[in-house]
Amino acid sequence: MQRTVFRNRWLPYLLVLPQMAVTVVFFFWPAFKSLQLSLYRVSPFGDTMTFVGLENFEKLLADPAYYRSVVNSFVFAGGVTVLAVSSALLMSALATQKIRGLTLYRTLLLWPYGIAPAVAGIIFLFIFHPTYGILPYFLSFVTSYEFNWLLKGWVAMTLVIVATAWTHLGYNIAFYVAGLLAIPGSVLEAADVDGAGPLRRFASIVFPLVSPITFYLVTLNMVFAFFESFGVIDAVTKGGPGDATTIMVFKLYKDGFIGLNLGSSGAQSTILMALVIGLTMLQFRYAEKKVTYR
């Protein structure tokens, strides 16, 4: 393999500079700012800032509503990750069979990823809304069960989990299809000759071989669910009923941008950041050992 050697000592740094600049300006600087905010009490218009030390954190940790949002976040992120990754694997396995119209199916499967979360939320609203949704309307003919997630917390949670998982399905499928296609046909054929059925082949060959992708997707989906699932929740439940679907990122948005309590919002984003960094590190440390890289 040929190694590229830079003659100029500074050239490599210059070349990575744009990427570093983007990272610093759009990631490190805001992160630093929210860390700073978390130590202050800020008036809504930002003209008076009082240093309060860790008071914002103390208040959060004494607030039962905050713990509920943490629990909600784990339920939500867990639900989204399991649903989005497992159904993506299933659909990708189907989409790599030798069937007619394969390209069409694969293209269609990618579509949900092209839909903005807020739009996905609105679509789900039109389907599932207890008042004007089409599904509860049809359900009312066959069952007297009231599909009212405006009052039933767990129904609301299920709904936003399904909606969010759906928006991320296309992305996961893209990775899985690529991974499945990369599995050498000869290996599967050999297993077939040895008498392994489709399920056995999937469990002993396919699943371990795509495990790096599974690991990557689980990590990514989890981070996505913790941080970027705001759009769906805002469009569908706005955190309700009660605070049944108020996950951490939604609470910090509500407190910061609607309640104009920037100090608390900063503290919440600091905790969220630490939590997700911690979870990702844990995953790399323990789960990665079970992953077979080729």
Binding site: F45, G242, I258
Partner: protein, 443 residues
């Protein structure tokens, strides 16, 4: 050499560019621009633009530029961000619950002061008291009322007819609401009795004012930042208990926050609806059955009736603009407050006209005779006995407090908490929020 096709394409592009340049408007004469940020959507956005256009056409010195910045909270957040960058608009529309935040922000130029400094006479006395009271401090108006409404009762006349009720008589008491609902459901005229929009605003804030009950201590917060909520007292618990009971048998059907319950009324599911008077315009266009309006239902003795309180938004003037531009802002606000514009705005949108002269003119022109539904809100606000409890509510971080109350209402309606327990928690959480606000706004 480029192919003929390529050349043809370039020629087409050049031609298109020329057309675009020719169509571009000539640079306007230097008019002073007044930035006006608002949160009006759909038909209300059109009406706002039309009103601004009327002002721009009425004179040549100033040009007001309306810009929709999203929802109410988004507009407020945008204005705050802009203020911090010294890029604030001249005028920003803020909803009623943001009043305390704006008053204490130190970022606003009080409207009464602006008019005084610009020596523009405004007949403040002519403004409707409940509207002015909500936005005044020490008797001076701080922001210009723009779109004001109050909750009223809408009812489905066709369903009333079908249920054997008099379609010209809306229920006046909650007892009648219960009784009528049962008849409506039993006769199959509707699936549910009534539903509500903006749950905290209609069922908690307004119900307290309407029954002359305090919502918070310190004169509903008008007298100081150390106010505490009082909604977990006898009246609040009684009302929420009734609403919860009525969920069984569908006498009351909860339809979510803001306006998400509207379809329940519009599609005939619920025969009655308690919502903002500003929906009259929309309902006139979209509702297929005959409908009417009535005043808010009343519980009767031992309570006494006061007036309802308003909701909606006002226009705040941001500080730090040159006097020459402030003059344009002042002229625009003065224009908005004049009777002809007030009448046009009311007739077009259903929002209340805020000057007594405008209301009198509407009466004289038989407007209310022709559209009696548009009178309900005025009657409810002006004919009752104005008391300390019905002037309005002034609390810091009211947006969050409303969110807390509505969250607990949902817990109560879902049966997760008893009305007393839910309201106690709403009060405890809200008092924390108020404490936080007081601490952040210590002068």
């Amino acid at each position: 050499m480029p192919s003929p096709m390529t050349r043809l394409r370039s020629a087409a592009w050049a031609g298109a560019l020329l057309v675009v340049l020719a169509l571009a408007p000539a640079p306007a004469l230097a008019k002073t621009e007044i930035q006006f940020w608002h949160a009006m959507t759909g038909q209300l956005n059109d009406a706002t633009n039309e009103l601004v256009k009327q002002f721009n056409d009425s004179q040549s010195e100033y040009e007001v530029k309306p810009l929709r910045k999203g929802t109410y909270p988004e507009t407020l957040t945008a204005a705050i961000a802009a203020y911090r960058q010294h890029q604030a608009p001249h005028i920003v529309q803020v909803f009623e619950v943001g009043t305390q935040t704006m008053l204490l922000s130190g970022a606003v130029y009080p409207v009464y002061q602006l008019m005084k400094d610009q020596e523009i006479a405004v007949e403040w006395k002519d403004f409707i008291a409940p509207v002015v009271g909500y936005y005044s401090k020490d008797g001076n108006l701080y922001s210009m009322p723009f779109n004001s409404s109050t909750p009223i009762l809408y009812y489905n006349k066709d369903a009333f007819q079908k249920a054997g009720l008099d379609p010209s008589k809306p229920p006046q008491t909650w007892k009648q609401v219960e009784e009528y609902s049962k008849k409506l459901i039993a006769s199959g005229a509707s699936k549910c009795g009534f539903t509500t929009g903006w749950p905290s605003w209609t069922m908690v804030e307004n119900m307290h004012a309407w029954h002359d009950q305090p919502f918070a201590t310190r004169h509903n917060g008008f007298d100081g930042l150390d106010a505490q909520l009082l909604i977990n007292k006898e009246f609040g618990v009684m009302h929420l208990t009734k609403l919860t009971e009525w969920q069984k048998g569908n006498i009351y059907s909860y339809g979510g926050r803001q306006g998400t319950a509207d379809p329940k009324f519009v599609n005939g599911e619920c025969a009655m609806h308690i919502q903002s008077s500003a929906l009259i315009g929309g309902f006139t266009r979209s509702v297929k059955f005959a409908w009417g309006t009535g005043q808010l239902p009343f519980w009767g003795p031992p309570y006494t009736k006061a007036t309802s309180i308003i909701g909606g938004a006002t226009l705040w003037v941001m500080k730090g603009k040159p006097a020459s531009e402030n003059r344009g802002t002042a002229k625009f606000l003065k224009f908005l407050s004049e009777p002809p514009q007030q009448m046009w705005w009311h007739v077009t949108t259903g929002y209340l006209a805020i000057s007594n002269t405008a209301v009198k003119n509407l009466e004289a022109g038989y407007h209310f005779k022709k559209f009696p539904d548009q009178y309900t809100a005025f009657a409810q606000l002006t004919k009752g006995k104005a008391t300390a409890n019905s002037q309005g509510i002034r609390l810091g971080n009211f947006v969050q407090i409303r969110d807390v109350i509505e969250g607990e209402m949902e817990n109560i309606f879902a049966g997760k908490k008893t009305p007393k327990h839910g309201l106690d928690e709403a009060v405890a959480k809200s008092n924390e929020i108020l404490k936080e606000f007081a601490a952040a706004n210590k002068q």
